[in-house]
């Protein structure tokens, strides 16, 4: 690797050294011949014959150097970029259609990532955080919420976790302010363990901690969300320790949550209250059944695993606990069990539903991507037919088949790279749009769809797979091209208007183009039909007549074809 890097950095010097080395050998041979009495011109010619093609030697030396592949790849990239630059309409259209396909698939993945695979933003060490759903046995897609008493029962019995927290599943609408100046805000009631287990640090003051009580009617304390703090109090730190009025009762503000944290579910609360804020009569009244019985749907459970404990171990313990609970309280816990999963904004028991929905969407979107790929593959194929002559010349002066395929794949990859990056931008736009288009829910909703490493990786994989799938067929097709026929086509002039022979369409083996199918009905195939039309229409635009040197070096020194062909026939050079 070090050598590769060194050769890469010094590649200019290495190349000029090599040139000088060869020139020096050439000069010496010539001067020896002159000394032996030959005429200078004749001597030079003889030496040239003796040494053979200098560019070919240079190529071969370059191939033995470490990092030869990197060099070749760079040539390919440069050459491919030049070709694409010369046909901007083709490049833009192709990249755009790919961007839509890749962008759509990436958007769906981004949503899945944000909702199912990532913990809520702001929490520390998300790998050891788990969500726990209560389900009826045999009905894994049930309501995930538990009664407060269940939280207490599980907290008492679980040993595989550092602690358990519970948060109200649906936030409480409360009236904020007093005496004529009131507004409705949303408060989520949480256990005192909530912030500590999540590892959240306050933006001001303190958050709830072990010094707070978890008994109902025990405390009237509030933690404000950062957004509410900024919006309502303009970020004034003096509010910490002050009193606010909720439902006509005074609450002490102990602190402010950090920016970017809005809770661990998709609901964003303006503030968090302790279970101690709940009392069953008066203005802050909550249905007392949530806190007195064991089979109510009130809160969402989460926990922090002890160091070294796996989710499976926690799940196994919960199985044992649920069996014990069923024994102790057969009426309340009959048929109940618990589902454990990595923490994410969606409770475990609802992830099947959402995951299935997103999978269906992903399937639909894959069709779009497939059509885009077929489209681009068609155009590439047409291009390759138009480039037959260029390829033939390359083969004639000694380019190997793998080398050609590699170069053509690089060109395709370049195209897809542009499409992939544009796709990420499209995905970003689409998810932003999605957030804007969300319907109005009765409670405030907050979703985060960050373009994190996982999303970028998925886009890269999607792009790469698509590129190989639709670049390979044209590339192989081109590399198969018959040299003699290609060169002859040049003599006859390529403007015969016949660019694809029916038997030469490799994609035709996999896809029936609508022009040949009897009933082109669904939309998909109509879009493919557009693809074929583009393919036909695109041909004259993308014709490429430039002659390139073997192994893809830029100098366009084309030796007389007759002599190089005879060399080629005696044995194909590996490149």
């Amino acid at each position: 690797v070090l050598k590769t890097w060194r050769n890469f950095v010094n590649r200019g010097r290495i190349a000029s050294d090599l040139d000088e080395e060869l020139a020096s050998a050439f000069d010496q041979l010539v001067s020896e011949r002159i000394a032996a009495g030959e005429a200078p011109d004749a001597a030079r010619q003889a030496v040239r014959r003796e040494l053979g093609s200098t560019p070919a030697i240079r190529d071969r030396v370059r191939d033995v150097r470490a990092g030869a592949l990197v060099d070749a790849f760079l040539w390919d990239v440069r050459y491919g970029a030049r070709l694409l630059g010369r046909n901007p309409v083709f490049a833009l259209t192709a990249a755009l259609s790919l961007a839509i396909g890749i962008g759509a698939a990436t958007s769906i993945f981004t949503v899945a990532n944000g909702l199912l695979l990532r913990a809520a933003p702001g929490v520390a060490d998300p790998d050891t955080l788990i969500d726990i759903s209560e389900i009826d046995r045999g009905q894994p897609m049930a309501n995930p919420m538990v009664a407060y008493r269940t939280f207490l029962d599980l907290r008492e019995r679980m040993t595989t976790v550092d602690g358990l927290y519970v948060q109200q599943g649906v936030p409480e609408a409360v009236t904020f302010g007093g005496a004529g100046d009131t507004q409705r805000v949303f408060a989520t009631i949480v256990s005192s363990t909530y912030f500590e287990l999540l590892g959240i640090r306050p933006a001001a003051g303190r958050l709830f901690d072990a010094s707070d009580f978890d008994e109902t009617s025990a405390s009237r304390l509030a933690v404000l969300s950062h957004a509410f703090w900024m919006h309502q109090f303009r970020g004034d730190r003096a509010i910490v320790g002050d009193t606010i009025v909720l439902n006509g009762e005074p609450f002490g503000v102990v602190g402010v949550a950090p920016e970017g944290f809005w809770g661990t579910s998709v609901v964003s609360a303006d503030m968090w209250l302790l279970v101690g804020a709940v009392h069953f009569d008066g203005k802050m009244a909550i249905d007392h059944r949530f806190f007195t019985v064991r089979d109510a749907d009130w809160g969402l459970l989460g926990a922090r695993l002890k160091a070294g404990v796996s989710r499976a171990q926690a799940a196994a313990e919960l199985d044992a606990i649920s069996a014990a609970l069923e024994r102790d309280y057969p009426n309340e816990y009959g048929g109940r069990s618990y589902l454990v999963a990595r923490a994410s904004p969606i409770p475990p028991s609802l992830r099947f539903v959402l995951g299935g929905f997103l999978a269906v969407l992903l399937g639909l979107v894959s069709l779009v991507l497939f059509v885009a790929c077929a489209n681009v593959a068609g155009v590439l194929l047409a291009r390759s037919a138009a480039r037959r002559q260029e390829i033939a010349v390359r083969v004639a002066i000694g380019a190997g088949r793998t080398r050609l395929v590699r170069q053509l794949l690089t060109e395709t990859l370049l195209l897809f790279l542009a499409g992939g990056f544009a796709g990420l931008v499209v995905a970003r736009g689409m998810t932003t749009l999605l957030l804007k288009l969300l319907p109005v829910f009765p409670v405030p909703i907050a979703l985060a769809f960050p373009l994190d490493g996982r999303v970028a990786a998925s886009a890269a994989v999607i792009t790469f797979v698509a590129a190989v799938l639709c670049g390979l067929a044209p590339a192989l097709h081109v590399a198969k091209a018959d040299v003699v026929r290609g060169l002859k086509a040049d003599i006859q002039g390529p403007s015969t208007g016949r660019l694809l022979w029916p038997d030469e369409n490799p994609i035709g083996k996999f896809i029936r183009w609508p022009s040949t199918s009897a009933e082109p009905s669904p939309t998909t195939f109509q879009v493919v039909g557009v693809a074929t039309d583009v393919r036909r229409a695109g041909v004259p635009v993308v014709r490429e007549r430039r002659v390139a040197a073997p192994g893809n070096a830029p100098p366009v020194v084309v030796p007389p074809l007759q002599s190089s062909m005879s060399r080629c026939n005696s044995g194909t050079r590996r490149s």
Binding site: D17, E21, S24, Q28
Partner: protein, 109 residues
């Protein structure tokens, strides 16, 4: 014949280059001539094989190179054996002797 000679050369080219440089530093053409001379004219190394091989051996660390003035007063790239190159020469020589002995035996039966 020339084809067969070339294939014969392929396996032994590295060894011959190392051997040619064992007596002293040479530039590319010099290496090719020394080989021709050492083998009594049996092996003629074409430039198309010679230069890639020289660079490959340099890359492997068996040869080092310096620019110097050649006999006709022109700058030329001179190759010399490195310490690992010498070790390699000893190793390859003994390996070659084994092979050659074995093949001789096989052919004499």
């Amino acid at each position: 014949m020339s084809n067969r000679r070339a294939t014969l050369l392929q396996g032994t080219l590295d060894l011959l280059i190392l051997k040619a440089l064992a007596a002293g530093d040479l530039h590319g053409l010099g290496v090719s001539r020394r080989i021709q001379q050492l083998t009594g004219g049996t092996f003629v190394v074409q430039p198309g094989s010679l230069f890639p091989a020289l660079h490959r051996l340099e890359e492997a660390g068996w040869l080092a190179s310096t620019w110097d003035v050649s006999e006709n007063n022109r700058r030329a790239k001179y190759y010399r054996l490195t310490r690992t190159g010498r070790k390699q020469l000893v190793e390859e020589t003994s390996l070659w002797k084994q092979i050659s002995l074995a093949i001789d035996q096989a052919l004499e039966v």
